[in-house]
Symmetry: C2
Subunit: 343 residues, 2 copies
């Protein structure tokens, strides 16, 4: 059979590997009979997990690998040395055209370095940004870049805006996505040197719907679809959201537990509260894609379970079906000097 | 009588001026009979408010001013042109040695520019950072710099660490405060060019308790007392915290309102929840000082009420009593080449 999407899954990466990763793969193939998954990892452990489930055998293959990359080692060194690691083998399968996408819950650094070194950038792409989706009051926004390449230049940010727009429109289904640049005030004259240089370029850039600056306080509201920023700031935003959401929940819980009435109230409110908080859960929306590579590389959280793994697989299917890479290449390669996206 | 601290209060700045600002002044002088407050603003409006309260008349003076600076005008131009604005007159009183400190809930930009242009920097201070206190799970942390001077150099960040340490130790009473630099990973080798250059300087800097990098996700935990960062990133952190806290509360409320059980539970839990959330309220800890100036300049939130105004006044009293400026000058001026704080 001809499969619409073939996915290389790093079965050894993350806190819950291989159990949850394997389960996520099974869930995905049981939902879509037109996809195929290659699980990279220790054959015995992976097959022991697979035996627990029912699925069409031809939709999942196990590729035995002998090494693993941990979060403690230097990403660059690990990618270079551990040629038979589950991650490197999975990335190589995309590079060689055997698979369309790779998903890993392993070391972020190794995924970022490996994606760029092994899979490689599309023609015309200057930098490959990591672009996680963030939950907001109204839905989701794409935060681009949160990767490891800091100290970006204005022309990088313009490409981030372009790639982010393509992703949000064609994978997430948001027509004419609104793009804003993270700034410390709403006026064009505000900002650091990078933002001041980038702002007029974004304003002139055709094919994107640039709406101006966004202050950090307005990010959680969700009025904007693509939030462009340099990786250091993006990383701070992403991690602060994660940390603050945890702290707020701790404080809410502490408040409720501080009195008997609070305890009873908390107990009653818990189910509806839990349901609502779920809408604010980033993992519902798949992993963070590393955009602009010759193939899709998706990083999922280290604590990912079967649900997140399954969601990331579906995200890769949409990505492939929407021909995102072809669109990025079509738009960026011929028109990179004009910084223009043709329609 | 000789007053321990004389404070210049911008009675016209902020959303609740002059009513709440005047009330805050009255509350403060009724608590401390050794302080004096000069209210700068429209005499008639300010006196109409004052008439509502009982206080020792000699502790509050009204200085009539005819202009106001709004948040919409260019801060630099407004400071230059509006010589008889409540803010400029208040700042000038500190410059002239008539008052020890100025507090304003008005335009942040104007306070930042005016503080530096009119009051002026202490000898040895290269940049005056805005350093708000942030509530955390464990208490408070000082975030330095959140001001308007972006694109800082490493030597600026080292001074921020030194001034922030002095402030947290002597105003907030935290012995040997822990200092960390905002980074995108815990290792010394991580970060952008600015952080990589600053890290070794902070490590070598005597007189501060530098504990290394802090990732944004750990900021709300409150394990560190002084959080050093460049103003653009600091501004993003401060405003994202503000925005996200609001969004989280909206989501918690929405969750509770989504079912009858949730509504009843929410009603029961509300009082204890409210009490706990109060501990997470930044305004409890006074305003944001602009450090390193010849006199104290404190910016309070535009939505400040009497409570925040009163808290900021008390903060100025502690600042004066702890001789923060003398300490900063003693420490930074003679030893600025060595980047050293003597004990």
């Amino acid at each position: 059979m001809d499969y619409s999407t073939v996915i290389a899954l790093d079965a050894m990466g993350g806190d819950n590997a291989p159990g949850e990763i394997v389960k996520g793969a099974v869930d995905a193939v049981n939902e879509r009979n037109d996809i195929r998954i290659q699980l990279y990892g220790d054959k015995d452990s992976v097959e022991a997990e697979l035996q627990k489930y029912t699925y069409h055998a031809e939709q999942i293959a196990v590729i035995h690998t002998t090494e693993e990359i941990s979060c403690d080692e230097s990403p660059a060194a690990a990618i270079k040395k551990k040629k038979d690691s589950s991650l490197v083998r999975a990335l190589r399968a995309v590079k060689d055209g055997e698979c369309d996408a790779v998903i890993s819950a392993g070391s972020s650094g190794a995924v970022l370095v490996g994606g760029q070194v092994i899979v490689g950038k599309c023609k015309g792409v200057k930098r490959a940004p990591l672009a996680p989706v963030m939950p907001t009051e109204k839905g989701i926004s794409l935060l681009i870049d949160c990767g490891a390449n800091v100290d970006a230049r204005p022309e990088h940010l313009v490409q981030f805006a372009q790639m982010g727009s393509i992703y949000m429109e064609h994978v997430m289904g948001i027509p004419n996505p609104k793009v804003a640049i993270v700034n410390i005030g709403a006026e064009e004259a505000k900002g650091n040197a990078l933002v001041k240089e980038t702002y007029p370029l974004l304003k002139e850039c055709k094919g994107i719907n640039f709406v101006g600056s966004i202050e950090a306080r307005d990010i959680p509201k969700g009025d904007v679809d693509v939030i462009v920023t340099e990786a250091f700031v993006g990383n701070v935003i992403l991690k602060l959201e994660e940390g603050l959401a945890k702290t707020m929940m701790t404080i809410v819980k502490r408040g409720m537990m501080s009195s008997l009435m609070g305890k009873i109230g908390g107990l009653l409110a818990k189910p509806s509260l839990k349901r609502t908080l779920k809408t604010f859960d980033a993992s519902e929306h798949g992993g963070a894609p590393l955009l602009g590579l010759k193939g899709l590389v998706v990083k999922i959280h280290g604590s990912s379970t079967a649900k997140e793994t399954r969601n990331a697989i579906m995200q890769c299917v949409s990505f492939k079906e929407a021909r995102i890479n072809e669109r990025i290449m079509e738009y960026l390669a011929p028109a990179q000097d004009a910084g223009q996206i043709a329609e």
